[in-house]
């Protein structure tokens, strides 16, 4: 089942997923919000190691485990576990400007989400696609900063 096919099967209450589908699918530049990174740039102290590089490393080290935890919780249809894993990834993603991932996590952490296996599967596919895009964008930003 493709992402597009699955989205057609959603009921109207799941319109957030539809709008997400419309919003996502961008290239690497859109995978991260530059204004968030710009705000973090202002926090950088002179003479200190590059904060954004440090945050990218922290995020890329932690987020794959969170994505995996979300997938594991979804497989078990464990709502509480899914909520916690999605909530944590939402927080870190929002903090570093990976807003599409944060948006998908926001839907995943809703209590009613786990009731629809098809919806969760689409969201997981979306999440993995968006995370892969964000990862590329963040690695490119990291490379730009250290070179």
């Amino acid at each position: 089942m493709s992402v597009e096919e699955a989205s057609i099967n959603f009921d109207p209450a799941q319109s957030q997923v539809q709008s997400l589908l419309a919003d996502t699918g961008g290239d690497a530049i859109e995978a991260t919000d530059e204004t968030v990174l710009a705000a973090l740039e202002e926090v950088q102290s002179e003479g200190e190691p590059d904060l954004i590089v440090e945050l990218i490393d922290l995020y890329l080290n932690d987020a794959p485990q969170r994505v995996e935890a979300i997938r594991a919780a979804a497989a078990k249809l464990d709502g509480a576990l899914l909520k916690h894993a999605a909530h944590t990834l939402k927080g870190s993603s929002g903090s570093i400007g990976v807003l599409q991932v944060a948006k998908i996590c926001k839907i995943l952490e809703r209590p009613d989400c786990v009731s629809s296996a098809a919806k969760v599967e689409v969201l997981l596919q979306l999440l993995e696609r968006e995370f892969a895009g964000a990862r590329e964008a963040l690695l490119a930003e990291r490379q730009r900063r250290v070179s």
């Binding site: 968030v36 705000a39 973090l40 202002e42 926090v43 102290s45 904060l51 440090e54 945050l55 922290l58 995020y59 080290n61 932690d62 916690h84 909530h87 944590t88 939402k90 927080g91 870190s92 929002g94 903090s95 570093i96």
Partner: protein, 209 residues
């Protein structure tokens, strides 16, 4: 001033830490609710805390409830930081014992001024606590001079709690900040001193004029 951070997400925790250090605070960081509670229940805990609401083991709301049960002279000022929006969430946070509530994603400047408010209130509490301690010491002195004092009708000595008779000067001096300088009042001068001078003159003509 020291600030405790409790945040289970490493990225958010590092950003918070960097911000607070930049604004001149000392920072104590913890990665879960249990560790945060461990810090807050110790003597000498930070007076300011920025707590995430959703954390494993012990959430921010439960930490607030526990902290408010501690009898501290200076209770910590707690700012809850969470992705949860909505009036009810704010009510729940404040009712649990938080002083302030900020939703993620937060504006850095908004967090800065809210932490400043917390620091101002904590400083005020520290000053008030010091003033209260001073007043308690002063009150202790006042208390020692309260009650019925047994005083000799003739020599005016006062009997203390150990049954020793002390002069008024030594009794009062031992129990207050008061100091004595000796003089002669007009009545005593007229009734006592004048007569004594006259007697000395009569006995030793030429010594007192």
């Amino acid at each position: 001033m020291r600030v405790l951070i409790a945040e289970d997400d490493a990225v958010s925790r590092r950003i918070l830490e960097t911000l607070l250090l930049r604004w001149g605070y000392e920072v104590v960081t913890t990665s879960d609710g249990k560790k945060a509670w461990g810090v807050l229940e110790e003597d000498g805990a930070p007076h300011l805390a920025v707590l995430d609401v959703m954390m494993p083991d012990l959430d921010g709301l439960e930490i607030c409830r526990r902290v408010r049960k501690l009898s501290r002279t200076i209770p910590p000022y707690i700012i809850l930081l969470t992705a949860k929006h909505g009036a009810q969430e704010i009510v729940n946070g404040i009712e649990a014992g938080a002083d302030d509530y900020l939703t993620k994603p937060y504006d850095h400047d908004e967090l800065r001024v809210r932490v400043q408010v917390g620091a101002r209130i904590v400083e005020l509490q520290i000053k008030l606590a010091a003033r209260v301690a001073e007043l308690e010491v002063a009150l202790e002195h006042v208390k020692q001079l309260q009650g019925i004092l047994p005083i000799c009708s003739y020599c005016k000595k006062i009997r203390d709690d150990q049954d020793y008779w002390q002069t008024v000067e030594s009794y009062v001096s031992a129990r207050s900040e008061a100091e004595f300088s000796h003089g002669i009042c007009p009545t005593c001068y007229e009734t006592t001193v004048k007569a004594q001078i006259a007697a000395y003159r009569a006995e030793q003509p030429g010594i007192l004029r």
